[in-house]
């Protein structure tokens, strides 16, 4: 019992800084509707800056001054980011903003590497709070007690700020009802910048306060951002108290999992500590299934700013069909002209083209957010790999991989399409993480973190050019299916549901069922891409279904142009080519890749294909 109590205290101590970081993100989201991926990077910068202060000025001034300095410095960085980058893309589709913040993650990570070097930096303990006090016969760190107190204090301060000040009133108004803020005659720009300053300040402080508990490392940014997303979503987007409660729930669940250790349940030994890998995502999925807007959230009204209206599709013209045929012939002829490695790279491009095109179906045609598309790519890959190991042939394995992905997309999709906007995207993310952690831990079947090796295509296809042609056939057909669907009654119905849900319902469309079918179809097609991928690499390991892979797919779609047929394919080609070339030619390729993405997003908010189309339209109109 006392062990339980002390684990509760441990959980509360961890919750404090998680709360600070999460509430910052939540406030920013509430006002600007931006899901800021770089918030984790702000947290990381907080730790690094605090480290520099605490080690260059020793003693209490260095440490506590460092905490404050970290908060302020990160606030300044947040403001700069808001003014220089985000302000230019507020009217772009929400997912595009997400990609821009992801590009910032890449840039900030490399900047931190350049400034602080690659080694982990363990900071000093907090002056005055270096030791432990006895609680129930156990030594408990005084600093953890301080953190618990600070967490509660910050909650009170923020509550007072929200309730008692004009700034707080404006924040609440902007979160709950945008038009009301307009009516209050507020300078929106200033409000957005201010909330970014506040949110980033909190991230910086949250990071700085972790300094005595964990070293500054370059992996902290993505390490915390997933947790923070989870907290913000469980609590309800934009909710201050929600973030507090959710941070506590998550931290306690983890602490109790560790406290339970291994237990025998129904005669089976179960290692609870292993659950810490995924506990928060299981909690999030459960909360979202039962409370679609999180614990304390209100439905989010997404502003329809992104209404860059497409032109009607019509029938594919003869010129288009001719171009398609010419394109296919050119692609087929490629190995005759270029070297073998071009075939290898082009194989990757084709696979990612199908992956991105299938995601394009969900986020473009169906207008649904997905952060977790890699789950289906990964399941397709693992399905095919396991089928091959079980002795199935190449084609049957491809088929079984796709079938596994389809089945999973049907199960997960059923829950996901019941939510909307960011909540739906987060539920897809949660399912993807759950898939990832099962694959990661189920050693006996999936090979755990090492994955499975030795999954090569049959001898006849193992030549690089032959495999390229195989990929061109399979993935090409997949991409054509993605394109074709858009022209069919089903694709029209999906678009109808996206353009106006009330109208779609009023003309008798079963919106949820259509979206479910669309989600499942896209999942199955991503599975095909994954299945081909495993044969092109000969091996597979869990990172194929991890968050970065989902983000890659999003980047491809948005880079190419959402709501364009060619967009995802062009995006996949450009992204793969950039990554391949940059990684080869520069040490700081990650930052360069981030900068290129950022520039593209700011200069061509409609994506490459979308912008070319727009340019052509303007020319024609002029």
């Amino acid at each position: 019992m006392t062990a339980f109590f002390v684990q509760t205290l441990n959980g509360l101590a961890s919750a404090s800084s998680l709360f600070l970081v999460a509430v910052g993100l939540s406030l920013i989201f509430g006002v600007t509707r931006i899901v800021n991926f770089a918030h984790g990077s702000f947290y990381m910068l907080g730790v690094y800056i605090a480290y520099t202060c605490a080690t260059s000025l020793s003693g209490a001034l260095g440490f506590w001054g460092g905490v404050l300095a970290a908060g302020l410095a990160v606030a300044v960085i947040g403001v700069l980011v808001e003014m220089l980058v985000l302000r230019r893309i507020y009217s772009s589709p929400e997912l595009l903003q997400l990609i821009a913040t992801f590009a910032l993650v890449l840039i900030i990570k490399d900047a931190a590497l350049a400034i602080w070097g690659p080694e982990d930096l363990l900071g000093p303990r907090a002056p005055g709070f270096t030791g432990a006090v006895e609680i129930f016969g156990r030594a408990f760190p005084t600093y953890d007690l301080l953190l618990i107190a600070l967490g509660v204090a910050m909650l009170l301060v923020l509550t007072a700020l929200m309730k008692k000040t004009r700034f707080g009133l404006l924040l609440r108004a902007a979160t709950e009802d945008r038009e009301m803020t307009d009516a209050l005659g507020v300078n929106q720009k200033l409000l957005f910048t201010a909330v970014f300053a506040l949110g980033s300040f909190l991230a910086g402080i949250g990071g700085a306060l972790q300094l005595p508990r964990e070293p500054a490392t370059l992996a902290m940014d993505l390490g915390i951002i997933a947790d923070v997303f989870v907290v913000v979503v469980i609590g309800g987007l934009g909710s201050l108290h929600g973030a507090f409660v959710a941070a506590i729930i998550i931290s306690l669940v983890k602490a109790y999992c560790i406290g339970l250790g291994s237990q025998t349940l129904f005669g089976v030994e179960f290692e609870f500590s292993k659950l810490t890998l995924v506990a928060e995502f299981i909690v999030m999925a459960l909360v979202l299934v039962f409370k679609p807007n999180g614990l304390f959230g209100k439905p989010i009204i997404h502003s329809q700013t992104s209404a860059a209206v497409e032109l009607p599709l019509g029938k594919p013209s003869n010129i288009q069909l001719g171009a398609l045929l010419a394109g296919i012939l050119l692609l087929a002829a490629m190995p005759a002209v270029f070297d073998e490695y071009t075939s290898v790279l082009a194989t990757d491009v084709l696979i990612f083209a199908l992956f991105a095109a299938s995601l394009g179906l969900i986020i473009g045609t169906a207008g649904l957010g997905s952060f977790g598309h890699a789950a289906y790519f990964g399941l397709g890959a693992y399905g095919a790999a396991l089928a091959t190991q079980a002795g199935f042939g190449f084609l049957s394995s491809l088929f079984l991989g796709a079938a596994l992905a389809l089945a999973a997309a049907m199960v997960f999709g059923w829950f996901c399409v019941r939510l909307s906007g960011t909540y739906m995207a987060m539920l897809t993310l949660a399912f993807a993480q759950i898939v990832w952690s099962i694959v990661f831990q189920w050693d006996a079947v999936t090979g755990g973190s090492n994955g499975l090796v030795g999954i090569w295509p049959p001898e006849a296809l193992s030549d690089r050019d032959y495999f390229y042609w195989t990929t061109l056939t399979v993935c090409g057909v997949g991409v054509l299916v993605c394109w074709w669907v858009v022209y069919t009654p089903f694709g029209y119905a999906l678009r109808a549901a996206r353009d106006s849900t009330v109208k779609a319902l009023a003309i008798g469309l079963s919106v949820k069922r259509l979206q479910w079918a669309g989600f499942a179809l896209a999942g199955g097609l991503a599975g095909v891409a994954g299945a081909v991928y495993v044969f092109s690499k000969g091996s597979i390991s869990p990172e194929v279904s991890a968050i970065p892979r989902s983000v890659d797919a999003l980047v491809m779609v948005l880079l190419g142009g959402i709501n364009t047929l060619l967009g995802p394919v062009v995006g996949a080609a450009v992204f793969t080519y950039l990554q391949d070339t940059l990684a080869r030619s520069t040490d700081y390729w990650r930052a360069v890749l981030g900068a290129v993405i950022l520039l593209l997003v700011m200069l061509f908010p409609r994506g490459i294909v979308g912008s070319i189309k727009q340019f052509a339209q303007r020319r024609r109109a002029a």
Binding site: V6, Q7, N10, A13, S14, P118, E119, D120, L122, T130, R138, P141, R213, P215, T217, A255, I258, G259, G261, S262, E271, S273, K274, I319, Q320, A323, G327, L331, M334, F338, E340, Y341, T342, V344, L345, V349, D443, S449, N450, G451, V453, G454, R464, Y533, S536, K537, G538, S539, I540, S541, P542, E543, V570, V574, D580, A583, R584, W589, V609, A616
Partner: protein, 403 residues
């Protein structure tokens, strides 16, 4: 509709606008080195320096068989898929004579399997997974570092001597951690005199909840601890353990913690008396290590880490192999690797013919604090050969290995 045609054309040119292959310089022997430089810079920056030191030494002495060594470094983005792609590029476009490198086990396995498929030689330097040379081993893949089983085996005799009954195991929740924990349990059960029992804590890699884990170990009343965490997890674990008194009268046996990469970050938190594997670089004064250390410090104005030794020894092994084979023909290089003897900073190592594993060992000793920094004391070198399972057992372990 002209646009669409135009777009298709541009996307096609995007495909084609790939640089043409660079001319193959006849004079050099090219090595294709693949690693997670961006993802694991703490280990791999020193690794690359060690690599360059060795290569420069060899080339200054006239190269191998009259040809200079040239290395093409490629980042694998810490994913096996990308690693395989750059391996394809190195093999088919850069025409490298062999592949080397990799840090993460999953990447190492993927490249190893690729090597078998494409019939190229692959010298894995760092990945620790046992599977690389055993269950998933093949005739094209060789590995320098002692694997997880061997590293664990170095520590178990020390653990057995402690005569403790209830062991707590803390490990990062992925294959390396799981495998180390399993070997530890297996070896200790066979070596301990009294009965032993185990309490386990698996922590997500890089994100350990150290306070809760330490608390759980205390609540479980363990007598001793086997630690497998490293990096940031280790630092968190040590600090919480120190604060909460976990290490008082409770001996700890810990994998890799004596390596400068991990030890140096602990500074004055360095726990006293932990039994660890590592690399006490200041104190190893064998001629071969002294020469290496001096040259390294002179060239980079920095001290060597374990990564530096691994990079250095990899190049030296490759050079020795090339000298022996006298050719970059794959079959000849494979043959040359068998029982190849190389002088490394740790002394003479042998690339065992049975499982393509080198006998490079590690240093086992105790941690201590000196001038606010962590050092290893009472250390000794454990030859990799001495912790290798018996030939019969290796044969059994390699049953899944393919030609």
């Amino acid at each position: 509709m002209k646009t669409k045609l135009f777009l298709l054309a541009t996307s096609a040119t995007a495909f084609f606008a790939i640089h043409s292959a660079s001319a193959v310089a006849q004079a050099t022997i090219k090595i294709g080195e693949i690693n997670s430089y961006k993802a694991q810079p703490a280990f791999l920056e020193p690794y690359k320096k060690g690599w360059e030191l060795a290569q420069d030494e060899i080339n200054a002495a006239g190269g191998v068989n009259g040809r200079k060594l040239e290395t093409i470094f490629r980042d694998d983005n810490a994913t096996p898929g990308d690693a395989v792609r750059v391996a394809e590029e190195l093999v088919s476009r850069e025409k490298v004579a062999l592949l080397s490198g990799t840090f993460l086990s999953n990447v190492g396995l993927a490249v190893g399997d690729f090597a078998k498929q494409r019939k190229v030689l692959f010298i894995a330097s760092e990945p620790l997974t046992d599977k690389l040379t055993w269950a998933n081993g093949n005739d094209y893949t060789f590995r320098l570092r002692a694997n997880t089983a061997m590293q664990t085996a170095m520590l178990v005799p020390e653990a057995a001597k402690l005569n403790k009954k209830r062991w707590g195991i803390v490990y990062p929740n992925y294959e390396y951690g799981q495998s180390a924990a399993n070997w530890f349990k297996k070896y200790l059960l066979s070596q301990a005199t009294g009965g032993v029992e185990f309490v386990e804590q698996a922590a997500p890699l890089g994100r350990i909840d150290a306070g809760s884990v330490v608390q759980a170990m205390l609540d479980a009343k363990v007598d001793a601890i086997f630690n497998v965490t490293f990096g940031a997890d280790l630092q968190k674990f040590v600090r919480e353990g120190n604060t909460r008194g976990l290490f008082n009268n409770r001996p700890v046996v810990s994998l890799l913690s004596g390596e400068p990469e991990y030890l140096d970050t602990l500074k004055d938190e360095t726990p006293n008396g932990w039994i660890v594997t590592g690399y006490p670089w200041t104190e190893i004064n064998t001629p071969e290590h002294k020469a290496f250390r001096d040259a390294y410090q002179k060239k980079f104005n920095d001290y060597p880490r374990l990564g530096s030794v691994v990079g250095y020894a990899t190049v030296k092994s490759i050079a020795a192999m090339l000298k022996k084979s006298g050719s970059t023909d794959v079959a000849k290089m494979q043959a040359a690797m068998k029982n190849l003897e190389v002088m490394s900073p740790f002394g003479k190592i042998v690339w065992r013919a049975q499982d393509n594993q080198s006998t490079m060992g590690a240093y086992v000793g105790k941690l201590a604090k000196k001038d606010g920094k962590g050092v290893m004391v009472d250390w000794r070198y454990v030859d990799g050969k001495s912790v290798q399972p018996t030939d019969d057992e290796v044969k059994r372990l390699r049953v899944g290995a393919k030609k």
